[in-house]
Symmetry: C2
Subunit: 348 residues, 2 copies
DNA sequence: CCAGCGATTGTTAGCGCTAACAATCAGGGG
DNA sequence: CCCCTGATTGTTAGCGCTAACAATCGCTGG
């Protein structure tokens, strides 16, 4: 009744104070759990808050505390299973810590797009950001841009001095390659991901290292773009090599850099009349939910994306709080999942 | 030099004003593109902004304008291809409009989790939200909760009076079912998604309607949970029915409610020695990137997730601006993609 | 019985920005 | 030569909140 526009605007702290018969500061104290508030007062305030449906205005709060309690995430193509899962894990962890997560997605990883994204986040005063931009160029751009808040990368810290969380891609590749060699293959072919991706490079590296350790000269690397179609094309090439088979390196096993491409490879081989795994064993990477139902079920490397997301938030918060506890590169262990696609006792 | 802590805090509008020799209000005017500012003044201000690396504080702005220019998104399991793609389209559209997108992910769609998510968003003063929560229970909870800002749903407005964008799921199901009948099948079996999902219900409805229009009594509905594994189990059941084949309804065609489950069905059929599509034709829904490489390539219904995301932002903004242009339920058309899994001239 | 202490509550200044209003200036008509 | 007008710029109040400081209260010890 006191004001004509009362109903239009949400209640403020002053409204609650009036309702509870205390000062707005006491309300603030109750809200932030200050110890020196009498129990009865606290109850009155709580009741008033309840009655009015009051909610703290975070803009005002951010203004005075200079803390937005918002963190940004920059993600490239969150349509892929990996980034999407990481994002999910990360969101949850951030929310548990009372942070809001604002996401910006990039269509491509071009340096300029990244700059725009950082600007966008900076304009909203995020306290820090996680970049899920696993391309070499993006990470370099990130290092160059030096945003006004801490940034932690996911799968981006491999060679560079940026804090980040990543799976031990190389170890994953080693596990697969060792597994294939142990199964009796003379050598292992490799279908790599895009050259610009750090993960791709690390996987190729692991594969190459194992072969060299075994005194095997690595065959030529085939390359795709993570898509099933590109895998299909690589598979056609492999099939051609397998069927020609004159004098060249035998094609009996292939390590494909992700599961989606592996699906394409499997299809191409099948179309060429080549049986998996009897004639050519195939392994992937990621363990997408579909992998266990491929024809045949795919041997692959499982990544704990949720853990990666969680750890990256943890690391970022440490940077924000300034309690950077020693380690800056967190590495998560992969797990080899062996299925029919590399077991000779089963066919398609 | 004037202040000891100068370097610690980012420049404010007052700093820019001093640097440019004008009042802070003029700076504000330049920033918001007010017409009545002399060109030379504008240039000076712009130069000062550039020199100081000034950036408007959006918390202060939000406080005084009562507009956060932030929208929230609530998503259930953004690991699935559909939600993830929708999210991506939506992000981009929102960013183009100068909004920040804050996402909250829900593990399950339980009513309480949704309430928490809304609270979380409300606490940060979002101006509106998009809910990608395609479960009946979530949408009902949404309708019940009546949050203090407009909410638009994606795939959630089917039966209820909540504004939203959705694909014409029923039409998609009809297209598939008609296609299968046209290919010469006596009837079409159906593997549905979870009962609680609106999309699932709509797809089942479309399938049932077509059969009934053709005077066919719909066979018993099998049910999965969208996962490949659940599809596999349904497939085993179908295989059993197909092989038994005594007196019962013949099993020669199946419409599976999503592509992932279809993969499981295909695997189960293959394991049972049943050829696709020669003995049993299979169709899916979604057109995930892998679908064209399934054994055999899957006939399915393509959804334009990006368009759905974009339209939902459009609709939400209209609600925020208050310019609710008549239509509140936007429906996007699906597209039938015919591949080998329903063509009798090709096998696995 | 009063200074003095801790516990509790209130008062006062901004945080950085925009909106409303005020002031200033140049030029044209009477 | 002065008033009026519109263009341009400046001044003044908050937005809703927290931090720092001030005030008050009930007790305790001397």
């Amino acid at each position: 009744m006191t004001r004509p526009t009362e109903a239009l605007r949400p209640p403020t702290m002053a409204d609650v104070a009036r309702e509870a018969g205390v000062s707005h500061q006491t309300v603030s104290r109750v809200l932030s759990g200050h110890p020196n508030v009498r129990a009865t007062t606290r109850e009155q305030v709580t009741a008033a808050i309840e009655r009015l449906g009051y909610r703290r205005n975070s803009a005002a709060r951010a203004l005075v505390t200079r803390r937005s309690r918002t963190i940004g995430v920059i993600a490239v193509d969150p349509t892929l299973y990996g980034p999407a899962s990481t994002l999910a894990g990360l969101q949850e962890a951030a929310r548990d810590e009372g942070y809001l997560v604002s996401t910006v997605t990039l269509r491509s990883g071009g340096g300029h797009a990244l700059e725009d994204a950082l600007d966008h986040l900076a304009a909203w005063g995020v306290e820090g950001a996680v970049a899920i931009t696993p391309q070499r160029s993006s990470v370099q751009a990130l290092a160059r841009l030096a945003p006004p808040f801490p940034v932690v990368t996911v799968e981006g810290s491999h060679g560079l001095d940026i804090p980040g969380v990543s799976l031990d891609q190389e170890l994953g590749a080693r596990l697969v390659t060792e597994h294939l060699l142990a199964t009796g293959h003379e050598t292992v072919w490799h279908v790599a991901g895009p050259e610009d991706w750090l993960e791709s490079a690390a996987r190729t590296e692991g594969w190459r290292a194992v072969l060299e350790e075994h005194g095997i000269r690595p065959p030529r690397v085939l390359r795709g773009d993570w898509s099933p179609l590109s895998g299909y094309h690589a598979g056609q090439e492999l099939a051609g090599l397998a069927l020609a088979g004159r004098g060249a390196v035998p094609v009996t096993a292939a390590f494909v850099a992700n599961d989606q491409m592996a699906l394409g490879v499997l299809r191409a081989l099948r179309e060429a009349g080549i049986r998996t795994p009897r004639q050519v064993a195939v392994a992937g990477f990621d363990d997408i939910p579909e992998a266990g139902f491929f024809p045949p079920p795919l041997t692959t490397v499982r990544q704990d994306f949720t853990a990666i997301g969680r750890r990256s938030i943890q690391l970022l918060l440490e940077h924000i709080e300034g309690t950077v506890a020693g380690v800056e590169h967190i590495v998560v262990e992969p797990q080899l999942i062996v299925r029919a696609s590399t077991r000779s006792q089963d066919g398609a």
